[in-house]
Symmetry: C2
Subunit: 469 residues, 2 copies
Amino acid sequence: MILRILVVAVALAASAGATIRATDALPSESLVVTASSLGQKALNDPAAFDFVEALTTEIGQRLAGTEAHRRAVVWAEARLKAAGLENVHSEPFSFPAWIRGAESADIVGPVPQHLAVTALGGSVATDANGIEAEIALFRTYDDLLAAAPGSLSGKIAVVTQRMVRAQDGSGYGAANPIRRYGPSEAARRGAVAYLLRSLGTDSHRLPHTGALNYQDGAPRIPAAALAIPDAEQLERLAALGPVRIRLLLTPTIQENAPSWNVVGEVKGTERPDEVVLIGGHLDSWDLGTGATDDGAGIAIVFGAARLIAGLPQRPSRTIRVVLFGAEEMNFSGAAYAQAHEGETGKIVVAGEADFGARNVYSVQLPGGAAGSDFGHTLERIIAPLGANVDRRPALGGGDDIRELQKAGVPAVSLRQDGLDYFDTHHTADDTLDKIDPKQLDQAVAVWSAFTYLAAASDVDFRRLAPTAK
Amino acid sequence: MILRILVVAVALAASAGATIRATDALPSESLVVTASSLGQKALNDPAAFDFVEALTTEIGQRLAGTEAHRRAVVWAEARLKAAGLENVHSEPFSFPAWIRGAESADIVGPVPQHLAVTALGGSVATDANGIEAEIALFRTYDDLLAAAPGSLSGKIAVVTQRMVRAQDGSGYGAANPIRRYGPSEAARRGAVAYLLRSLGTDSHRLPHTGALNYQDGAPRIPAAALAIPDAEQLERLAALGPVRIRLLLTPTIQENAPSWNVVGEVKGTERPDEVVLIGGHLDSWDLGTGATDDGAGIAIVFGAARLIAGLPQRPSRTIRVVLFGAEEMNFSGAAYAQAHEGETGKIVVAGEADFGARNVYSVQLPGGAAGSDFGHTLERIIAPLGANVDRRPALGGGDDIRELQKAGVPAVSLRQDGLDYFDTHHTADDTLDKIDPKQLDQAVAVWSAFTYLAAASDVDFRRLAPTAK
């Protein structure tokens, strides 16, 4: 999961108060019965956990641009076909693949100590011998931004601002600029490298990676995340006197690397050209096995689509499952939106499961839909599962559908409990054992109910939703 | 903390039922008042936390035999002197120092995957290119022991038995042979290398190191611990078919490396030749900064001795603080006992704080003392601190005092809450942030009360205690 929805969020928030219109037809009682029974069935269906167990065991990490990701694409196509989905195929695109190299950091003075670090995705390499420099430590990002031009000349800038633990991930959203833009901000002030306290809520020696965005007009300097105990160790040492660090990072970029968005569908019976798009991302970071980010997410939408595909009577609209191919490096959503530009008006709603493996506690519908007949009906179905329908509209539905959303596609957000998501997010610790099958099943249940109801009913979120440009 | 007390435990258990004799004089009320006020003072004394904060920040890891440990010895002498202790000095000994090298493990088939491993202390190295072999996986240690001679020929033996979480560390004691003796047992059956699921209770990609003991008559094969998620990944993969692993370990041994037991005393006023020995170990494993193992332990005994040294009226017996120098590799306790062989009869009681940084919930006194006047008085003092006096006698008091105990020195065991101790024990995660200052202070309080009372009263544990040979 990455989070870069602030611009969209602000744009949509302006129209979030749009009047609720109750013009959609009430979903029929038979649809409600089917959606409810799908939800109940999901609670005891091992398919989603089996999916993520097999993916993380048989493939493991699947950084976009690596051979492992290519294997994952073949694996995923076979799984979608075996689950009864149709039109299974992969849509290729190319992108500059960033591949991790060696990475290490050591305090060389006042006394030698090892530091646990990991390069940020997209970081340039250091010299082969590494960079050795004194650090300039800032306890907040604002302190860095307040530093005068040139004041960091020749230094390694270090930002140790804490990230807040929050169920909805808002702590990550707030801290995200520290990783995204910190390297360029530090470089503008003369820094030769950049370290940040990992964007995470744990206390382990496992640093959190994630992509940076170099800004135009700033030198590109190597950048890495410190494990949280290591950031705190630097705070203590820096309070005692000058600290020198040697940093070594040797990542490489492969231009025009191939990736693929993997697609499978449950074809609609009556309005097959209208699409309910549900997705997640198949790629992962390379440190762990991508179990919660985003093996769980694609397992959830897979599990939901599989259950619906197995119904005696399929819904009228097409359900399209998209397993995006380069989310962590920000490329697959744009590639998908570009390839499907002509089809945008046919996508009734889009949602992405990319916030871990825990239960869905709340559904945010597209603007105008929360208080509609659809919203009321959905709430009846998911309340017994332990989820509600939020009165606030969805602002963002996931990074891969952001470009679709910008083009006018209504977004849904099925909000999962993320209180501990950032304990392991983007670390070596993102492994299968972090998934509770029962909570995963609950998420599948809510996704099944929503997806079925959206595809089988007459609701038209496009009409209800405010248009965002 | 290491645990190798089974032999001693069994020997002492046989005499644990010794009759309680109430022949010791009741500690005077003024001693009780002083011991109680020491305990209360400790609850708000920052000295112990400051000690471990400075040690782990300014020195960091201090594996015996490394330059960092040498720095720690100098640092510790200065701290003991500054705290008002007398006769501060270091007692040298030599030992074969094991120094970690490179370490990595990767699954090479069925699909490439990285594994998080760490060499066991004392392990021999692999070839410079590593060892590549198929694994033979055993879910229990008994399954390995049941394997026929020669049946593991050419294979890497893997044992994935789980360790039980227990407040008193009994899960570690029970699992300890898997690490200590597993390498030799596997080698006897033909294995070329040995991997075990880390002896730990966490679920992080941070393997737990710890020493092994090669047995006579078995080939010495390289041995390492897998992080717990990695052991579980191997279980899943091995269930699907053959798994091949490449293991690389390049540790070295430096024979006759120097180490030191650092000593400081609060000289007794009336019976200075009678000694209450309290200790911990200054050395640590090299992966973390040795905060809970055993920075916390030596901080606790330091904090207790410092408070007692600051009293207007010091106790009649000598309190001796010993910071042992090579506990993790099992050398400092024997070195100390040998150097002090002639003094054994003068040590009234010995205790070691080597079980983390949490509160003391129970004190086990030497055999025969629990129900004595001393025991009753101690209970009055520590009950308000949240600790009791166990009716069962101490069996082991710590690895460094095991040899003293064998020579007849009575041992005391101040039992700390170890429910989460093995989450970070012997890993890179053993860092300062794992210490709760309030719990550490409580431990100092109980140690202060016990140590003072033992040194100021007339209790003679040597007379009460059953003799172990």
